[in-house]
């Protein structure tokens, strides 16, 4: 299945793209994407924290992804 990954802040600098398309096995979870991205972009591991949102809602590591989901990488936020 295809999912769309959005990068923000420092994750965009690390990955070098605003958007990344991944082709994953059916049943993949947020944790699987984290593992994939960390292997491909090791500096991801050095972030103070990394959260994920699926379709604009915070998601846990166990959340299963579906075809065409939009997964956003949320490094430490610093609004305000």
């Amino acid at each position: 299945m295809k999912i769309k990954v959005l990068t923000f802040g420092v994750t965009r600098d690390i990955i070098g793209e605003d958007v990344l398309f991944l082709d994953l096995p059916a049943g993949s979870t947020v944790a699987d994407v984290r593992t994939h991205l960390t292997e491909r972009f090791p500096p991801i591991e050095k972030l103070a924290s990394l959260m994920f949102a699926v379709n604009a809602e915070y998601a846990t590591s166990e959340a299963q992804l579906a075809e065409l989901d939009e997964l956003a990488l949320i490094p430490p936020v610093s609004g305000g």
Partner: protein, 138 residues
């Protein structure tokens, strides 16, 4: 009642203030963030804010609605800006009206504290010799 906005242009404190006006209100508390000219002793040239926009708006709305449930307040306005901001400019304005001042202060502090924890907005501090995404690294 809540008023949530994410803007690329200068925030209007007057517009926020006007939204929360209410004949039942005895207290209005407004918090404005402003861009400081230094951080930890280092000169700041400007800040750059970016947001995951639809989620940032949704999360700001959740915060305002939570504050309305949790505190005895009337109206809440949360406006946040994105883009490049100079020293003295305003990244965020949170305005609350309430019958009594304790609730207005408590709700306003709750909103800004929670916004800084949960809303997907990122700030890059630009110095003379480089730039960093705030809080990204331990």
């Amino acid at each position: 009642m809540t008023d949530i906005q994410l803007q690329t242009t200068t925030l209007s404190e007057a517009a926020c203030r006007q939204f929360v006006a209410d004949n039942q209100a005895g207290a209005i508390v407004m918090f404005s963030g402003t861009v400081r000219n230094q951080t930890q002793g280092k000169l700041v040239l400007r800040l750059e804010f970016e947001a995951y926009e639809p989620m940032a708006i949704a999360e700001m709305r959740k915060i305002a609605e939570q504050a309305i449930r949790q505190f005895d307040v009337l109206k809440i306005s949360i406006h946040h800006r994105v883009g490049v901001l100079a020293i003295g400019e305003i990244p965020v304005v949170i305005t609350v009206s309430a019958k009594h001042r304790q609730a207005a202060f408590a709700a306003c502090q709750f909103c800004i504290d929670t916004l800084k924890q949960t809303v997907p907005i990122w700030k890059k501090e630009v110095f003379e010799d480089g730039a960093i995404w705030v809080a990204a690294h331990p």
